[in-house]
Symmetry: C2
Subunit: 100 residues, 2 copies
Amino acid sequence: MFIAMNRFKIATGSENEFIDIWKKRETYLDNVPGFKEFHLLQGPSHDDYTLFASHSVWESREAFETWTKSEAFRKAHTTAGGAKGIYLGPPQFEGFDEVI
Amino acid sequence: MFIAMNRFKIATGSENEFIDIWKKRETYLDNVPGFKEFHLLQGPSHDDYTLFASHSVWESREAFETWTKSEAFRKAHTTAGGAKGIYLGPPQFEGFDEVI
């Protein structure tokens, strides 16, 4: 199992706008080989931002990396984004391999 | 769904020692109400450390918080730890609520 997470720092007060962007977004993931599950997660709030994370589960790191080079990935990311002012910096990607 | 993660910065070269600690550890989670799944994940490596994360999935934040106050939690954490030198700082807890 491989878990791909992108961490987003969203300016305090812009949480609902960020969630709406994701609710309207088409991820084109359903038929991607090796894809298992996707969730948007809301993490802890700090003084000036709330942490969010996109969280997708894959059968393997290879399946995830193949997807990142695919047309489905390109299509999903042309619609990503939204108002720049809601983001405190760029998203931070972290890939995790199952150890136990 | 609620995901509880603890992020561990493990000194470069100590990765296998850290994994062994977890392999030998008894988590006492199997019969905890609302518990769904546990994994130890290995994340990206940096200059002086490798990121690991414990990753447990729960039916709700309430189920997780009830567990943290339980005897099962206390038992699981009396055996936690290992050699102090392998950790670059304390673990960082982050709880995530499912939004989508």
